[in-house]
């Protein structure tokens, strides 16, 4: 472009255009500023020419202007600043309201003809007005569009709503009606007619159609409801009634309606509403109502029952709690009382025993024997009860020793043989030939088990047999252990099914077991069961009423000791012991206890010292240096343990053996005793126990009794020599021995009984009459375990023993 030609003021022409125009040099110096620019900016041309435009308009140095303006100079390409992207390039007030102009700017390059210098010509258009109009137009259009859109939405929603309504009516099986109340003209819809089985054309569009089809029984009720609504008393008209269908059936209809127009007096003009067929619901409701009533009745009955149950349960709970409390109290009582009971029993029996050697008067002796025997019976019973409570409280422990079961069973056989013979009952023994001679078992408890079960069998079997069998039921096991099974089978009265569990319960006896006939405490089987369980075994009862019972005792994992030791002789005869001279210190705070021990030791050549507490005991021990100290545990001032410890810590008293005598039931006493003391005895102590302990510590001699033990096995054949001596035996038995027997039977003193039995055994040995030996042994066995019932019965058989002896003579 060559615009510089021939013009002195080459740009003046730009003053004549209605747009802003200015020219910049490459260095942004203003070369020209037209009149329009002057008017808009109020910067006079004179002032702005030759200055850098950025000093007036610094924003032009921003990249978005600067880089583009530079392209005009560099590439000589025209550029456009649109109003949309820039609003304005030269800010100036709009003439109208003072707000800034909106501008559209075009920049074109101009080239100097002579030197080729490039200039930029800015043409600035004021597009404020057109922008405003476009904006207004845009807004108006947007609004209009929005309204159209809204209208469309509303219209669509309306249409949808209407469609939905129709669909709902159809889907819900709802019929519609529109009633002109004044004329009676009514518009029923197709569905209204269809519901009743009519086509729309078949019915008259009048309210009378409805009235005609209405069930006469429902009419008065419906009219009442309708009139109340027509009079404006209710907001809605809603009720149910029956209508007759074309086919003559009755439908239940739920009607809902509302007066939608009233005249100025409030009288209803127009009313619309719907009909809904609720027949199914109505029928279901009726059925439901009926069912509900039945249920309510049943529920009431069951509620009453539940209340009764609840009451019963409460009562049962209360009773149970009381029983529980009582049982707990009983256990506590027994645990507490065992000590208290044994201590006086100890005194009673002990002193009575001592008196027997002192009282010479026969009558008094008789009384004394009664005291002793009754006392022992009582002690037996107490022991039973205590045994049971100990087992129940888990306080009883088993004492294992090497046992030969065969011997025990033979004892059993001999104990019960007489009775069995009397009843004409066969006693059969069947012992597994592989049964080891030695097994580790608690002999005392095992005997107790056998005595109880066999005793029962004998008691309840009057004919047939009693079979005692022992089996090894697990022979393949490790050779160190085996399982044992004892079966005691009888052909007795049997046990009914409902009694089978009860007989193992405490204080329960066989229902038909008349006490007068059979006797017993009822604790036997309860203790037996618990003992078996303690041994890790179980007891199984099979029985049929009137046919017999089988008790099977199974004991698992019985140890077989490696070297077979000879069974220890458990019977101890204190009468054969003779102590050398010795001093014994008796320490007990209760004088009766000291007296009792003194009484036991009276007949020996022993010097007896007494102390009432531990401290006194220490003093006396130091002073007299006794050979043995019998020490009570619980004492005032200083207890037995403490005293024992002190004595053991002093050199001069260290070697004195100390035997603790205590009434404590604590099992762990055995663990405590060896540390401080040399032995212990549990109260109540018997004379023989005391003597036996003394033999461990004091030098003594034994005066052996010369009793020939009869062979244990079968009855020996009666030789003529034996037979010859028997009449003499009869004389002895019927003479002194019968007197003794009467005495013993009357007082039931255990030691007397034993003495008596021993006497008979020696007679039996002397005359070699074995049945008497067996009878005496049974008596001893029973006496050993305080089986007073058994003792009495055995004793009662004494005359029969003599008769049998006589019979054996006559028969041969």
């Amino acid at each position: 472009m060559r615009v510089f030609d021939g013009l002195k003021q080459p740009f003046d022409i730009l003053d004549s255009i209605p747009m802003g125009a200015f020219i910049l040099q490459k260095d942004f110096i203003v070369l020209f500023w037209n009149k329009q620019m002057e008017g808009w900016t109020h910067f006079p041309r004179k002032e702005i020419l030759g200055t850098n435009i950025t000093s007036y308009y610094p924003h032009l140095t921003e990249a978005k202007y600067l880089s583009r303006i530079q392209t005009v100079f560099e590439d000589m390409s025209p550029i456009i600043f649109s109003s949309q992207l820039h609003k304005q390039i030269i800010p100036c007030s709009s003439l109208k309201d003072g707000s800034l102009q909106i501008q559209k700017t075009t920049v074109t390059p101009l080239t100097h003809e002579n030197n080729g210098e490039v200039y930029a010509l800015f043409i600035v258009e004021d597009v404020t007005e057109i922008s405003r109009r476009i904006k207004n137009y845009q807004e108006a259009k947007d609004q209009a569009l929005k309204k159209v859109e809204e209208h469309k939405t509303t219209e669509k929603a309306l249409k949808e709503s209407e469609e939905r309504f129709n669909l709902v009516l159809k889907a819900a099986d709802i019929a519609a009606w529109d009633w002109d109340v004044k004329t009676g003209d009514t518009v029923f819809d197709e569905h209204w007619a269809g519901m009743l089985g009519y086509l729309l054309e078949e019915i008259e569009q009048n309210v009378s159609t409805w009235e005609k089809l209405l069930h006469p029984d429902d009419k008065s009720k419906v009219m009442k409801v309708l009139n109340r609504h027509l009079e404006g008393q209710t907001p809605f008209y809603e009720t149910e009634f029956r209508m007759r269908t074309k086919s003559g059936e009755w439908l239940w209809i739920l009607v809902r309606g509302k007066v939608i127009a009233r005249d100025k007096d409030g009288k209803a003009i127009r009313m619309t509403g719907t009909h809904l067929d609720v027949t199914d619901r109505k029928l279901a409701e009726e059925a439901l109502q009926q069912r509900f009533e039945e249920l309510a009745k049943a529920r009431k009955a069951s509620l009453n029952m539940m209340m009764d149950l609840e009451r019963a349960r409460d009562q049962a709970n209360t009773a149970w709690r009381e029983a529980e409390r009582a049982n707990q109290a009983k256990s506590e009582f027994l645990a507490n009382m065992s000590h208290e009971i044994r201590t006086p029993m100890n005194a009673i029996l002990g002193f009575a025993e001592i008196l027997t050697t002192k009282v010479k008067n026969k009558e008094n002796q008789h009384y004394l024997s009664s005291i002793i025997s009754s006392g022992k019976t009582l002690l037996t019973l107490i022991n039973d009860i205590l045994d049971l409570s100990k087992v129940e409280a888990g306080k009883l422990s088993l004492k294992y020793s090497v046992v030969d079961i065969r011997l025990i069973l033979k004892d059993m056989q001999s104990i019960f043989s007489q009775k069995v013979d009397e009843n004409n009952v066969n006693f059969i023994m069947n012992i597994d030939s592989d049964l080891p001679r030695a097994l580790l078992l608690d002999e005392t408890r095992l005997r107790q088990i056998f005595l109880n079960i066999i005793g029962n069998a004998v008691k309840f079997t009057e004919s047939g047999y009693i079979k005692l069998a022992v089996h090894i039921i697990n022979p393949n096991k490790d050779k160190s252990k085996l399982d044992l099974k004892f079966c005691i089978e009888d052909t007795g009265i049997g046990i009914a099914d409902d009694q089978k569990e009860a007989i193992f319960e405490s204080f329960k006896q066989h229902k038909d077991q008349s006490h007068s006939k059979y006797g017993g405490t009822g604790l036997g089987l309860a203790i037996t069961k618990r003992l078996v369980e303690m041994m890790g075994g179980k007891i199984i009862l099979e029985s049929e009423l009137n046919k017999g019972s089988t008790f099977s005792v199974i004991i698992h994992d019985v140890d077989i000791p490696s070297g077979i030791k000879k069974q220890k002789d458990t019977s101890f005869d204190s009468s054969v012991i003779h102590f050398d001279k010795a001093k014994i210190l008796i320490v007990d705070d209760i004088s009766i206890n000291r007296m009792l021990l003194k009484g036991y030791l009276d007949n020996y050549e022993l010097t007896l010292l007494e102390a009432a507490d531990g401290k006194r005991a220490i003093d006396m021990a130091k002073q007299f240096l006794p050979d043995l100290i019998l020490m009570d545990l619980k004492m005032p001032v200083m207890g037995g343990f403490e005293a024992a410890k002190i004595l053991k810590s002093h050199a001069e008293t260290q070697s004195i053996p100390i035997v603790i005598i205590t009434a404590t039931v604590r099992e762990d006493i055995e663990k405590l005793v060896p540390d401080a003391c040399d032995g212990y005895l549990r109260k109540p102590t018997s004379k023989s126990q005391v003597i036996q302990v003394l033999t461990r510590f004091l030098s003594h001699s034994i005066q052996e009794k010369t009793i020939e033990t009869p062979s244990e096995n079968n009855l020996l054949p009666m030789t003529p020599e034996i037979m010859a001596k028997l009449p003499e035996l009869i004389t002895v038995l019927e003479g002194d021995v019968t007197d003794l027997w009467k005495n013993v039977s009357a007082v039931l003193n255990i030691s007397h009984i034993k003495d008596f039995a021993n006497h008979l055994m020696s007679l039996a040995a002397e005359y070699q009459y074995q049945p008497m030996d067996l009878w005496a042994k049974e008596l001893v066995s029973r006496a050993d375990i305080y089986d007073t019932e058994g003792i009495t019965k055995t004793l009662l058989r004494f005359p029969k023993l003599i008769e049998a002896l006589k019979a054996s003579l006559t028969s041969d």
């Binding site: 990249a63 978005k64 880089s67 583009r68 392209t71 560099e74 590439d75 000589m76 390409s77 025209p78 550029i79 456009i80 600043f81 649109s82 109003s83 949309q84 992207l85 820039h86 559209k104 075009t106 074109t108 057109i130 922008s131 476009i134 137009y137 845009q138 259009k141 947007d142 569009l145």
Partner: protein, 201 residues
């Protein structure tokens, strides 16, 4: 006329430089960051352009911004937007709600400026290579069909350089196509220059 792959690569790079410059200029002006893809280039005759359409339906009115240029080579450079793309791009760079928009005077102004920037940048790159200054017309916004874009005297055998690029405005999740057509005569001069450039490089 066929371009060798070297020629095409060089030309593509040339155009890419111009477009890159335009984008950086655009981004100084607008809030949303505009990105442009590397352009694809086709050498066609006008006939081919019209017949083969290349996504440009000839019976449809297109929004175009054109400049004519004159120098060592002369011709026409045009920016073509499919209507939808044009609206999207303008709305993106002016920050307006893209819905309910209408192509009014103000938007035309904005689009013209965008075209101005793009075409100037590309032409600037070309003129740099040719070491020549062109004389340009002021950019014009024209709505027309593809066939009517070019001067009445343009023959159907005229060589057309068609450049297609894709723009994206990530922030607004907007994208679209834009086309640039260059009717360059004589086209051989450009190709020769491009060859030379390649040899020099």
């Amino acid at each position: 006329m066929e371009l060798t792959s070297e020629q095409e690569d060089t030309l593509k790079e040339l155009l890419n430089i111009g477009i890159g410059k335009a984008v950086s200029t655009l981004n100084t002006m607008v809030q949303s960051h505009v990105q442009m893809s590397i352009p694809t280039i086709k050498i066609l005759t006008l006939d081919q352009l019209i017949n083969e359409k290349y996504n440009l339906e000839d019976d449809k009115i297109l929004s175009t911004v054109q400049i004519s240029f004159d120098g060592t080579i002369s011709g026409l450079a045009g920016l073509i937007f499919p209507a939808e793309s044009a609206l999207k791009l303008v709305d993106a760079i002016t920050g307006q709600n893209p819905l309910n928009s209408e192509f009014d005077e103000m938007k035309i102004g904005a689009l013209t400026e965008v075209g101005n920037i793009l075409l100037n940048s590309v032409m600037g790159s070309i003129s740099n290579v040719l070491k020549d200054h062109f004389t340009y017309s002021i950019p014009q916004y024209i709505e027309n069909t593809v066939g009517q874009l070019f001067k009445p005297n343009t023959t159907s055998e005229e060589i057309i350089l068609l450049v297609e690029a894709r723009f994206t405005v990530e922030k607004l999740k907007i994208d679209g196509n834009l086309y640039m057509v260059f009717e360059i005569g004589p086209f051989e001069i450009l190709v020769e220059t491009v060859d030379q450039l390649y040899k020099e490089a």
